[in-house]
């Protein structure tokens, strides 16, 4: 793992990894959406609105996957002091927040024709909204910590602790439909089992894979951006001191 601790080595790898993730990710995502729109039949209860599943579910999964990435990277940063772990956590925050927001918006649009309302304050929706606010807090905290670190402060570990504590919301989101009454349906896909018809399951899984690759590509791009910013800042500081 510490083999990637060298930023120069990471940047060499990131240069080919970015297009390798982005291009197939885009093709799979949009291919799955087109497949779902064109060929998946209407559901007997939800009608054609069931097609929203193919964009909504990957967004929700990636919203939660984004915070899981932050939590795992935070552990690596706190325990092993891996120099790129904090950067990986920061890089995952913005795409995680975007997918969380997209999950909330697409879910709300889906709720209107199926539930008759745009929003209900039940466990699933509320805990997912809390996730979005946690992302906002993390992004602001990480930004402030980076400025503090540039000024010689030692606040670098605070976002990692926040990322770790915030992870408590992930199992709450997952179990919310079991613990509390909700208009939201229980999980349709669990480990090894699915109650979704294969005509929807395949475009959904391919779409989820595609959006995950896009997520990975965005994380790599943001890591390159953050590393470039740190290198620029360091060089400017050295020049100012000389």
């Amino acid at each position: 793992m510490h083999g990637f601790a060298n930023p120069a080595r990471f940047l060499r790898m990131a240069r080919w990894l970015l297009p390798t993730l982005l291009v197939p990710g885009m093709l799979l995502s949009f291919g799955a959406l087109a497949w779902g729109i064109a060929y998946a039949p209407p559901d007997h209860l939800m009608g054609v609105t069931v097609k929203i599943l193919i964009i909504h579910v990957p967004c929700v999964w990636l919203g939660m996957a984004g915070w899981s990435t932050i939590a795992i990277s935070s552990i690596v940063e706190l325990v092993w002091r891996h120099p790129l772990a904090g950067i990986a956590a920061r890089a995952a925050a913005v795409p995680g927040a975007v997918f969380t927001a997209l999950g909330l918006i697409t879910g709300s649009i889906w709720a209107r024709p199926t539930w008759g309302t745009w929003w209900v304050w039940d466990g699933r929706l509320t805990s997912f909204l809390v996730l979005l606010f946690l992302y906002f807090g993390y992004i602001a905290l990480a930004d402030a910590a980076q400025k503090d670190a540039a000024g010689g402060g030692g606040a670098g570990r605070i976002p990692a602790i926040f990322g770790l504590v915030g992870a408590i919301n992930i199992p709450i989101i997952n179990r919310s439909v079991v613990w509390w009454n909700s208009l939201h349906q229980p999980a349709s896909i669990t480990l090894g089992k699915s109650s979704i018809d294969p005509t929807y399951l395949w475009p959904l899984l391919i779409g989820a894979l595609g959006f995950s690759l896009v997520f990975g590509a965005v994380v790599i791009a943001r890591m390159r951006m953050l590393l470039a910013d740190i290198q620029t800042e360091a060089r400017l500081r050295r020049k100012a001191l000389n």
Binding site: L22, M26, S29, F30, L33, I37, G47, V48, T49, K51, I52, I55, H56, C59, V94, P95, V98, A101, L102, I105, T106, I109, W110, R112, P113, F211, V214, A217, V218, A221, R222, R224, M225, L226, A228, D229, Q231, T232, R235, L236, K239
Partner: protein, 46 residues
């Protein structure tokens, strides 16, 4: 009172929000990365 809903409007709205949001995030991240790397290279050359 009965409300008549055209379900396709909701499908198109949800897919558009998802696709436009994803493309905007990808574009913004790539542009920010290229700008940051260009700035770093410019500072190195000085």
């Amino acid at each position: 009172m009965h409300e008549r809903l055209d379900q396709w409007v909701y499908v198109v709205a949800a897919l558009s929000v998802g696709v436009v949001g994803t493309l905007a995030m990808v574009g913004w991240s790539l542009i920010a990365m290229l700008r940051a790397e260009r700035r770093r290279d410019a500072v190195r050359r000085k």
